[in-house]
């Protein structure tokens, strides 16, 4: 299992809002593919899949506020 964590985005940015997920629970994902779009006040940015596998758990819904360090999702990479 591999946690997808919201990384540091720069000084003064401690949280963001989930715009939308590119995939749903159970989907196969490839490393580097866009996984989720997030937004701060004046910027949107993507978080790519850190590993290939099955997206086994999405912890935050669209519109939710997330903090740096939060586990946004879990990828099951046990078959890779």
């Amino acid at each position: 299992m591999h946690d997808v964590v919201l990384p540091e985005l720069g000084e003064g940015i401690s949280k963001a809002t989930v715009s939308f997920w590119y995939f749903k629970n159970g989907d196969a994902v490839k490393e580097g593919e866009d996984l989720v779009e997030l937004a701060t006040d004046k910027a949107t940015f993507n978080l790519p899949c850190p590993k290939a596998g099955i997206l086994s758990k999405i912890n935050f819904n669209e519109g939710d506020s997330v903090k740096v360090g939060d586990i946004l999702a879990v990828i099951d990479n046990s078959n890779n």
Binding site: E8, L9, G10, E11, G12, I13, T17, S19, D34, E37, A39, T40, D41, K42, A43, T44, F45, N46, P48
Partner: protein, 209 residues
Amino acid sequence: MNFEAYDLGLIDFGAARKKQLEVFVEVKNRRISSALIFCRHYPVITLGRRTDIRNILASEKELIDKKISVLRVERGGDATYHGPGQLTVYPIFNLNFLKKDIHWFLRQLESALIKSLSGLGISAVCLPGLTGVWVNKEKIASIGIAVRNWVTFHGFSLNVEESDTRNFRLIRPCGMDIKMTSIEAALGKKIEFDALRSSLKKEVALCMT
């Protein structure tokens, strides 16, 4: 730093977005290091990811009569207006080679705008917590960006001609009750877009180091 500069002139928002994405791919794939795309748009309202639809104040009929379309876009921020009296600039930069800090990039764009305006004799400032550039508490430049794999696109619009700022009354710009101003209003005269492009090119280069 060095970057490619493009001047698309007066161009439809959708066509400029297509060019932006082409250049974005070039920068992402490291075929060019970075780029600044300059253009002016036909009247259009764009809605960023944060937009509350109630921030469009004009009726559908008014927008149709004025031939102003409304587009949802992938940048951050709320509603804004673009018109031919603005200079719109799309900086396509690879932050992997600069600084992986989204707010740093926003602050550098503000700084480049403030220095360019200062060169024209306009005293402009940032206001804490309110991204953009302001003159006497009126907004002269609006910023909203998108970042993918640390490569930036979208950017900022600088109000040059006063006539265009009237169309901001069709929306609540950036979701706020604010007044917009322009270079023409601040100086009491019109200026050439060419001089402004050269100045911004220089100041952005100095700020992105």
